[in-house]
Each structure stands twice: as C-alpha cells, then as structure tokens.
C-alpha cells in the first residue's frame, strides 16, 4: 500500500457491499430477461427461460441474506440523517448540480449516500417480500399478488435508475471513490474533498488509520 493513504472501509464492509451489489445486478439482468421479451435471449445463456426463473428465484435468496447484512452493517452510519448539516448539504445538492462556494461539510456518509442506502434498504425489502409472494402466488389472495407485481416492477424502476447514478458517481463522477470498495484505501485529498468532517472527526478521536503508519502494521 502506498504511503499516506487513508483507510475508508474494512474487509467485511467490502465483502457485504459486493455480495449485495453482484446479487442485485444478477437479479436485474435475469429479471429483465423475463420482463422484456426482446431480452429473452438472456435465458438461453443459462439453458432456457425455466432455468432463468430458477436463477432469479434462488439468486433472490442470496440477495435477501446480503441485504440483511447490508442493513445491519450500515444502518447506524448511513440510515440516520444528522441535522442540521445534512439538510444544508441537501439544499446545496452537495455541490454536484450548481456552483456552491462552500459545500456544507458532512460526515462519513453524505445525505446523497444515505438516500441511496435507504432506497436500497427500503425497495430491496419490498423486492424481497413481493418477490417471495410472486414465487408462490397460489398461497396468497389474487388481489395481494397483483399488487405485488406492481411493487416488484416499481422497485425495479427505482433500483435500476439508482444503480446508474451510483455507477456514474463512483467511476467518473467523483474520481477516487472506487478504491474505497476495492482496496479500502483512499487518498487524503479525496477524503478532504468528499468527507472533510469525517476526516476531522477521525483526527479528533484518533481513529484515523494511515498506511505506512505504525498503527497499520
């Protein structure tokens, strides 16, 4: 590890992140293969539409487990807004959309990230519940199952759209972010730019871990 990098995530966080991310992606792709007739060819890749349904259904179980870990792991840090700084950050749109002289400083997770987390948690739970009922529709009332179809499709619209926002920001939209979920180490400049308050907090509480320091060995 290059000297002077700052530790942003632990291995458990990264494993859970990729479990939920990859299973979510798998479910999006297999689900779209069933929702859109023009994408039925995705079924061919796994040996037919019947298998595609199986991959989607059992992939859902893996997603459920990952989602539970995700919520348990990040609820305290990313599930609760802290005022007033989060409200100010939202008013300034984090400096992402228009010119802001001084972006309000927020902690480890900015309100945009918190909203993304809450969307994944809330709609993810909706997908789990509706998906399970769609898997075994004959055990439930027709009215309920029909409602679940709507919820499942709505969840897809929201999660799929958010996925692209997430993808944009961690690649070219906010360069330097992606390493947090690969190696776990980010540059000090990045932390200063994205999460200045978090940096100050860690410095104040002595929890900052810098590569090359005695602490890391």
């Amino acid at each position: 590890m290059k000297k002077g990098m700052i530790k942003a995530t632990g291995p458990a966080e990264r494993v859970v992140h990729w479990c939920v991310a990859l299973s979510c992606l798998l479910l999006c792709i297999t689900g779209m293969g069933m929702m859109y007739h023009s994408l039925n060819f995705i079924g061919t890749l796994v040996g037919g539409m019947g298998n595609l349904k199986l991959v989607h259904n059992f992939g859902g179980i893996f997603f459920t487990a990952s989602l539970v870990c995700t919520i348990l792991m990040w609820w305290k840090e990313a599930g609760v807004f802290s005022f007033p700084e989060d409200a100010e950050w939202i008013k300034a749109a984090g400096g992402y959309l228009w010119h802001v002289d001084n972006v309000p400083e927020v902690g480890k997770y900015n309100p945009g990230q918190k909203m993304f987390f809450l969307t994944v948690a809330l709609f993810g739970a909706g997908m789990v519940v509706s998906g399970f009922i769609m898997w075994f529709p004959l055990g439930f009332s027709v009215k309920l199952v029909r409602l679940m179809y709507v919820l499942h499709a709505l969840g897809f619209v929201v999660i799929f759209a958010f996925f692209f926002i997430h993808l944009y920001l961690v690649t070219i939209g906010a360069p330097g972010s992606a390493p947090a979920m690969f190696t776990g180490w980010v540059t000090k400049a990045w932390v200063k730019k994205q999460h200045p308050k978090w940096l100050k907090e860690m410095e104040k509480h002595g929890t900052l871990v810098v590569s090359g320091d005695e602490k890391t060995s």
Binding site: L52, F156, V157, Y168, G173, A189, Q194
Partner: protein
C-alpha cells in the same frame, strides 16, 4: 388474420349433459382426477389443469321466488385484450390467427402470472409438469377446418362456432327472441371475447362469472406503465449523468489540479 372465429354458447339450450366436458377430455387426452361427491352434479368442483371446460350447476331463486336450475359451460373466454398473454414472460400464451388464445406448452416456465392476471380464473397449474394449462379452442381442429371437440359433441345446439359477425348477429337475435333478462355476454369487454354467451339471466346471477370483467388495473400499471418506465428512467439517468459530466464536471480531489500559472477564474 385468417378469420376471427367466435364460439357461441346459448345457455338457454343447455341441458347440462356434460358431453362437451367429456369430449374435451377425450380430444385433448386429459386424464381424469380422483374426485368426490360434493352434493352437486358439478364435478370436478372447478376447472383444473386437466379439466379445461366444466358445466357449472347452480340453484337460483329469482325475485318472484321461482327456483331455477342454471347450467353454465365454463372455460377460457379467449379475450382479445387477454391479460394472460399480456403478462406471460415467455410468450407461451399467444393469439392465433382465429383470435383465440393458445399455449406453447414447451415455452411455459410455470411462473403462474397468467393464473393471477386472468379475470375469469381460467389457467390452472399442474405441479407435476410445472406448467399451466387451459382451453385452446382446439387449435389443431380449427386448423383442420373442424369445430372444437365441445362444439362437435353438443347435441342441443347450445354450442356453435363461426365467423365473429355471424355469431354475434345470431347471439343478439336469440337474446331478443328469449326476451326478459336474456342478454349477450362477451362482446362488450376486454375488446371482445371469442367465446360469447347468450345468458337467460343477468350476468350478476351466475356464480364465478364477473359482470364487468377487465384486465386488472394492477396488470395495466405493471405492463403498460412500469415496464417501459424501467428502461426510460434508466436511460434518462444515463443521459443525465453524461450531461452532468460534460457541463458541471466531476467532483475531483484538489491534488490533481494546479494553481500555478495561467489565469484564475
């Protein structure tokens, strides 16, 4: 479209002989299921994966206190705007050139969405094969210019099949002839069904027959709104992200920029 066909079921002529029920089983090689006496001639009690048509028996007391024994041949209505075909993810359920709704059994993945979507409760699931089954209006017979097996077997003229216009004309003149509450059922909803009843009583009277069937609103929202929205919204986000990148630009850490030289803005 070759020719839109309509099967006319004139219930005023039905004697509940159940010849159609048996003929359907015979032609489609559907096995019988073990059943029990539920105190009615109606047997099996409902449509099954292997019972695609069924005579329903109903004791009805009308407003004058008269007891009537109503018979109704139940089965797929072959909707033009068919909810089952609309939701089917694999296009296993499809419209034929006759306007009927047929089934590619090999394409069915047993997702059961058609069962939930159908306003008439027609498709039924078979656990053994993990597929759904329903009446296909004897598609193979129609292709051979033969009437469906049920129509062929009907001894009373309750069942007829023919061109849509001719059958509708027949239905309306028969309803007029019968008078009273007699009415035509099927041409006014889901863009017209390809099975039309002449009902001697009002539609509300019949058990398991919705008076105003339609493709459920939830199914319309799902397939006509949210399904295209999934791609449109995601496309909008990708376009928006690109616009953001080329107008506002990324949020880059300061180490990668320089303040030396040039003009500050």
């Amino acid at each position: 479209m070759k020719q839109e066909l309509v099967k006319l079921i004139d219930l005023s002529r039905c004697t509940a002989c159940r010849g159609c029920q048996i003929a359907c089983k015979q032609w489609n090689e559907l096995p019988a299921s073990k059943t029990h006496n539920s105190g009615s001639y109606q047997n099996p009690p409902d449509l099954q994966w292997n019972t695609w048509t069924l005579i329903r028996f109903q004791e009805h007391v009308d407003s004058k206190g008269t007891l009537k024994w109503l018979f109704r041949k139940d089965g797929c209505m072959h909707c033009t705007d068919a909810a089952c075909a609309k939701v089917c993810p694999t296009e296993a359920l499809y419209h034929t050139q006759f306007g009927s709704v047929s089934l590619h059994v090999d394409k069915c993945i047993g997702c059961k969405e058609c069962i939930v979507a159908c306003p008439f409760g027609v498709p039924k699931y078979d656990e053994t094969t993990n597929k759904i089954y329903k009446c296909d209006l004897c598609y193979t017979r129609l292709n051979g210019n033969q009437p469906p097996a049920c129509v062929q077997s009907c001894p009373t003229g309750t069942l007829q099949i023919g061109a849509k216009d001719a059958m509708l004309k027949k239905a309306y003149s028969r309803a007029k002839e019968l008078g009273g509450d007699a009415n035509v059922y099927g041409d006014k909803f889901v863009d017209g069904t390809h099975v039309i009843y002449v009902l001697p009583e009002k539609a509300e009277v019949y058990e398991n027959l919705p008076a105003d069937p339609k493709v459920p609103l939830s199914i319309v929202v799902w397939k006509d709104v949210l399904k295209p929205a999934g791609l449109l919204v995601a496309g909008g986000v990708v376009a928006g992200a690109f616009l953001h990148y080329i107008t506002k630009g990324p949020k880059t850490p300061d180490e990668e920029t320089t303040s030396e030289g040039g003009k500050q803005i």
